[in-house]
């Protein structure tokens, strides 16, 4: 009984190491509905400060229901976060999570308390970290809002990612328990899209 518990525990722990994103069809065109020329910070979602770096990130979906803005005749969908007020700079992590066939082509716009643009963190500053396309950066003085937007320049292009992994299964013969390790590979073919799941966290800057 106890041995079976061990096996189950190991299985659960390994299962907990990997997360799968939802199944979203890539949205590569935005319907010609209401797209504003300005960013609306009125619907900002408060981003909590995770002081102990233990909580799960705040997860949102950018989709057709999200706000839209147009710039140089290019449309983007976006969501707004109100950043936590903190006396020291902190670390923001933004992860664009892949679904089965698509991933949000992300870019970020940092605004001050009045909604004035301070800087932009472009798609080319994102790097894959694990399975997610991520930006990890420090806040700068005066930044109060963060826009997570789709990058129309990238939408429609594709990325293919090969990933290898090792699965471990606990086997028992009745006398002995042992682990069997099996390797496998998979290829994720993703279309950059206006929609997708984004995880965001605000945490202290790690120290060494």
């Amino acid at each position: 009984m106890l041995r079976q518990g061990c096996i189950l525990l190991a299985g659960l722990l390994l299962a907990g190491c990997k997360t799968a994103g939802p199944d979203l069809a890539p949205l590569v065109q935005i319907a010609p509905a209401s797209c504003n020329g300005t960013l609306d910070i009125g619907q900002a979602l408060p981003l909590p400060f995770d002081a102990e770096s233990k909580n799960k990130p705040t997860s949102i979906i950018v989709d057709e229901g999200s706000a839209c803005f147009a710039e140089d005749n290019r449309k983007s969908l976006y969501r707004v976060f109100a950043l936590p007020e903190h006396s020291q700079p902190f670390m923001l992590t933004v992860q664009s999570e892949p679904s089965s066939s698509s991933i949000l082509a992300p870019r970020l716009i940092m605004l001050d308390g009045e909604g004035v643009r301070l800087r932009e963190i472009g798609y080319d500053e994102f790097l894959f970290r694990g399975n997610a396309l991520s930006a990890i950066f420090r806040t700068e003085p005066g930044e109060r809002y963060m826009i997570v937007a789709s990058d129309p320049e990238q939408v429609g292009s594709e990325v293919s990612r090969i990933g290898g992994s090792v699965q471990t299964q606990m086997m028992t013969t009745g006398v002995a328990t042992f682990a069997v390790h099996t390797g496998s590979e998979s290829t994720a073919n993703l279309t950059y899209a206006h929609n997708g799941v984004v995880n965001v966290s605000a945490r202290p800057i790690p120290t060494r």
């Binding site: 106890l2 041995r3 518990g5 061990c6 525990l9 190991a10 722990l13 390994l14 907990g16 190491c17 990997k18 770096s53 700079p89 670390m91 992590t93 080319d124 500053e125 790097l127 894959f128 970290r129 694990g130 399975n131 991520s134 990890i136 950066f137 420090r138 700068e140 293919s160 990612r161 090969i162 990933g163 290898g164 992994s165 090792v166 699965q167 042992f178 682990a179 069997v180 390790h181 099996t182 390797g183 496998s184 590979e185 290829t187 800057i205 790690p206 120290t207 060494r208």
Partner: protein
């Protein structure tokens, strides 16, 4: 017996949990980095030769004996790979330093090489040069943790692909304050385990179903590794943007 089983369960749980995440990245302190114009790349820590890793083997199921057999086979593969790369005059130091220098210069930094002695393999320096004889604003500490080829398993569906792991840390020259630290994985095989470090997927062009395919085609093997170094060092440039 029950105590032993329980102890085993705890150790298994701890080992698995410990493997679920890597050391958190420290993003660049851009405010301080504005004052940094000249970066001294410290003599990098390098492995003595290439790796040829099989992430899963039958031997892993057979305890110490299996591990010893695996180690012997891996050592043999590494010798073969080292010979194949040497035959093509592949020098990882040049690839690494050349790539990082180019990546930093592309970001507008002036780059110098700073010679240091290293004593601990696979580790960042414990202390940084205080003399600052090269008159740099910051030091880039580079650990080439591993380079070579790796496969997730023994079947043809898990081919050998180039694999490079580069660890980087930027510190101020005046007081050794850490401004950035991260790991860049090119073809990180253990993708089931979470990481917030950079993970570059391997180029599908460079894959070898069997290890003998790799050593019998050293030109392509070198090309694949070259690309892995280029992509890895470009990512270091993005981290310092």
């Amino acid at each position: 017996m029950n105590v032993l089983v329980r102890l085993g369960a705890v150790l298994t749980a701890l080992a698995l949990l410990a493997g679920c995440a890597t050391k958190p990245a420290i993003p660049l302190d851009r405010t301080s980095a504005k004052e940094i114009k000249t970066i001294g790349i410290l003599t990098p820590d390098m492995p003595t030769g290439p790796s040829a890793i099989l992430a899963s083997t039958p031997g892993q199921s057979f305890g110490l004996v299996g591990a010893l057999i695996d180690a012997g086979i891996e050592s043999s593969r590494e010798s073969d790979l080292k010979a194949a790369l040497a035959g093509k005059s592949f020098t990882p130091y040049d690839r690494l330093m050349g790539g990082i220098k180019a990546a930093l210069e592309a970001q507008g930094y002036v780059v110098k090489k700073v010679a240091v002695a290293r004593t601990e393999r696979g580790e960042f320096l414990k202390t940084y040069p205080s003399a600052n004889s090269e008159n740099v604003d910051a030091y880039l500490d580079v650990v080439l943790f591993r380079y070579g080829y790796g496969a997730a398993g023994i079947s043809a569906s898990t081919p050998y692909r180039p694999s490079v792991e580069t660890r980087v840390r930027l510190v101020t020259a005046k007081d050794s304050r850490v401004l950035m630290e991260d790991i860049v994985f090119y073809n990180r095989i253990f993708t089931a385990l979470e990481t917030n470090n950079v993970t570059i997927a391997p180029d599908p062009e460079y894959s070898f179903a069997a290890f003998s395919d790799l050593t019998s085609n050293p030109d392509k093997a070198v090309e694949g590794l070259d690309l892995a170094f280029v992509k890895s060092t470009e990512a270091v440039g993005v981290l310092l943007r």
